[in-house]
Amino acid sequence: MNAPLVAVSAISRSYSMRSGMFGRAAAVHAVDGVSLTIPRGETLGLVGESGSGKSTTGRIVLGLEPPDHGEVRFDGKPMAAPGTATWRAQRARMQMIFQDPLGALDRRLPVGTQIREPLDIHGLGTPGEREERVRELLRDVELTPAHGARYPGALSGGQRQRIVLAQALATKPDFLVCDEPVSALDVSIQAQVVNLLCDLQAQLSLTLLFISHDLRVVRQISNVVAVMYLGRIVEIGLADDLFAQPEHPYTQALVSASPAPGRRSAGRIVLAGDPPNPAARPNGCAFHPRCPRAIARCAQEVPVLSAVGGNRQVACHLVTGAATRDAA
C-alpha cells in the first residue's frame, strides 16, 4: 500500500476557558487523542455536532496551530516549525476552504485579482503566465473570465465559494482541508459545488480532509468517514456502509436524526439532553449520559477505538465488549 499523504497520530489540544467573570479557568479538551491517516488522492470525512473538535483538528492538520501532544506527518515528514522555509514549502502544498466565502474574500478587490494573489506571493510564473493561470482556474471551477472582473458582492454564494476554491487551487496543492464548505449554500447550489469538488479531486488527484456536520454531504464526497464526539473519534469506517450500518450508539442517533424524505419520524432515536459542556467532560465514555444503552462500565472506563471487523473501528464498550464475547 502506498504511504498516506497525511498521518495524524494521537493529537490533543486543549484551551483554557474562563466561565463568567470570576469563574475558575477550566481546560476545554477540544481534541483528545485523535489519529487519522489519509491515503493519497482520497477523501476523509469528519462529522460531528458543533464543538466536537472538527475545526480544531483541521487547523492542527494544516499546521496552523501546534498540537499539545501528538504529531502530524505530511508526505512522510513531520510538519516543520511555523515560519521556517521547510514549513513554507509544505504549506504551499496544502490549502483550506471555509464555510463563509464572503469572509475569506476581500470585498474591495475583483475576485480575479484575489485568485492571482497566491501566485504573486509565491512568485510563480511571469505576470502573463499568472493571468493565463487565473483564466484556467476560473474555467476549472466552471466560471468565465468575466466573473474574474467582478467584486465578491456581485456574485452569488455558490459563485463565491467557487472563487475561494479557485484561489485555493492556484498553487496546485496536493492537500485541501475543507471546513463546512457547502453548509451555507442552498441544496441545489450545494449539489453543484459538491459535484465540482468531486470532479476536481479526481482530475487533480487531490487529497481531502472534508469537515461537515451534514452526514449526507460527507458521505457523498468521502472514502472514509470519522465521527467525532467531544474531541474524540467514536467511530470510523467506509463511507459506503458507515451510515447504513452504524455501530456506535451516537452514530446511530445521528443517522436517525438526519431527516429523510419519504420516512416519517416514527421509530426515531431521540437523544435526551444537550451535548455536554466540553469543559466538564463526563467520566468514562463522554457519550454515556445521553446514551440510551449505557451500562455501569460506560461511566467508569473510557472506551478505546478498536477494530470490529471489516474496515470499521468503534469506541464503545457495548460494541467491542460484545465482540470479545462472541470471539470467546
Partner: protein, 327 residues
C-alpha cells in the same frame, strides 16, 4: 369545510420590486403544512405579510382570511389579538426574540396576561405548566432564570412555550431548527409534533430542508421565486415530484445509504427579483423548458386529488397520463 386560513393571490413588493407574485395557500384546522424552497423564495415574507409584520415600505395586496374574516390590512388592535393569540410564530434565532434582562417567568407571564386574561397565581401555575410541557427539566426553579442561562435547544423550547401561551390555533415555525445541531433538531421537531397532536393545533413548518418538512408535515408546498410551484401530500411529493424544480431539489439531496450516484444539480441560480425572466421563473434553469414556458407564467392547476402544480410541461404530461389511466 371552511379553511382555518385561506391566502389568495398574496403579493408583496419592496421598492417596486415584486418578491411575492401571487401566493395561494389554504390551511385546514389541525393540519401541518410544510413550506420549502431556496432562500429568498418568499417563505418568510408570505407569513410576515399575512400577519402584518412587514415594514411600512412593503406594498402588500391580496387576501388573507382567518375563519373567513379578512385580516390583511385589519386595524392594529385586531391584528394584535390575532398575533400571539390565534396565530403564533417562532423563528430560527430564538435568542433575539427573548428579552435578555427579564426572567423567563416574567416573559411568559406577560404573554399569558396579554392573550389569556389570566392573573395572579393562575399565571404562575400556567407559566410553569408551559415550561413543563416543552420539556424544560426542573421547570418551577428554572422560571426565575434568564435566557442566557439556557442552551440553544432549551431557548427554542422556551420560545415554543411563549408561542403556546396564547393557545393558538396555528403555529408558524420559521426554520425553527436550522441553527441547532442534528440531535437537538430531532428533539425540537418531535416536541412540535407531539404538542400539535395534543392541542389539535395547525402548523406551518417553514424550512429549506426537504427531509425536515417531509417527516413532519401532512402536506408540502414548494416555493420558487415568490410563487408556489407544487403542492402535494408529503409522501406523494417525495415519491413522485412533478414540477421540474421539485424534482431537482430531491435529486440534489445526497443519499444516506445505498449506492452513491452523481448528484443532479440544478444549473444556474435563483433569479434576482429585480430581473425576473418573463414566463415561468424556473424556465432558465429547467431541462424541460420549451418555447411556451417563456411566454406566460404558469398557474397552479390541480393535477390529481390534493395535488396541484404550476408547470406547462408537467401539466400537459400529467393530463395525458391521467387520461390514459381513466380509459
Amino acid at each position: 369545510m371552511q379553511p382555518l386560513v385561506s391566502i389568495a393571490d398574496l403579493r408583496v413588493a419592496f421598492n417596486g420590486v415584486p418578491v411575492l407574485r401571487g401566493v395561494d395557500i389554504a390551511l385546514q384546522k389541525g393540519e401541518a403544512l410544510g413550506l420549502v424552497g431556496e432562500s429568498g423564495s418568499g417563505k418568510s415574507v408570505t407569513w410576515l405579510a399575512a400577519l402584518g409584520l412587514l415594514p411600512r415600505q412593503a406594498k402588500v395586496a391580496g387576501s388573507v382570511l382567518l375563519d373567513g374574516r379578512q385580516i390583511l390590512g385589519a386595524p392594529a388592535a385586531e391584528l394584535d389579538q390575532v398575533r400571539g393569540g390565534r396565530i403564533a410564530m417562532i423563528f430560527q434565532d430564538p435568542a433575539s426574540a427573548l428579552n435578555p434582562v427579564l426572567t423567563i417567568r416574567r416573559q411568559l407571564s406577560e404573554a399569558l396576561a396579554l392573550h389569556r386574561d389570566l392573573s395572579g397565581e393562575t399565571v404562575k401555575a400556567e407559566a410553569r405548566r408551559l415550561l413543563d410541557l416543552v420539556g424544560i427539566p426542573d421547570a418551577a426553579r428554572r422560571l426565575s432564570a434568564y435566557p442566557h442561562e439556557f442552551s440553544g435547544g432549551q431557548v427554542q423550547r422556551i420560545m415554543i412555550a411563549m408561542a403556546l401561551a396564547g393557545n393558538p390555533d396555528l403555529l408558524i415555525a420559521d426554520e425553527p431548527t436550522t441553527a441547532l445541531d442534528a440531535t437537538i433538531q430531532a428533539q425540537i421537531l418531535e416536541l412540535l409534533s407531539s404538542i400539535r397532536r395534543e392541542m389539535g393545533m395547525a402548523m406551518v413548518l417553514i424550512s429549506h430542508d426537504l427531509g425536515v418538512v417531509a417527516e413532519n408535515c401532512d402536506r408540502v408546498a414548494v416555493m420558487y421565486a415568490g410563487r408556489i410551484v407544487e403542492q402535494a401530500p408529503s409522501h406523494q411529493l417525495f415519491a413522485d415530484p412533478v414540477h421540474p424544480y421539485a424534482q431537482g431539489l430531491i435529486g440534489a439531496l445526497p443519499p444516506l445509504d445505498g449506492p452513491r450516484r452523481r448528484l443532479t444539480a440544478i444549473p444556474g441560480t435563483v433569479p434576482d427579483p429585480a430581473h425576473m425572466p418573463a414566463g415561468c421563473a424556473f424556465a432558465p434553469r429547467c431541462a424541460l423548458a420549451e418555447e411556451p414556458c417563456g411566454l406566460a407564467a404558469p398557474t397552479l392547476v390541480p393535477i390529481a386529488n390534493e395535488r396541484s402544480v404550476a408547470c406547462v410541461r408537467a401539466e400537459a404530461s400529467r393530463r395525458a397520463l391521467l387520461r390514459i389511466a381513466a380509459e
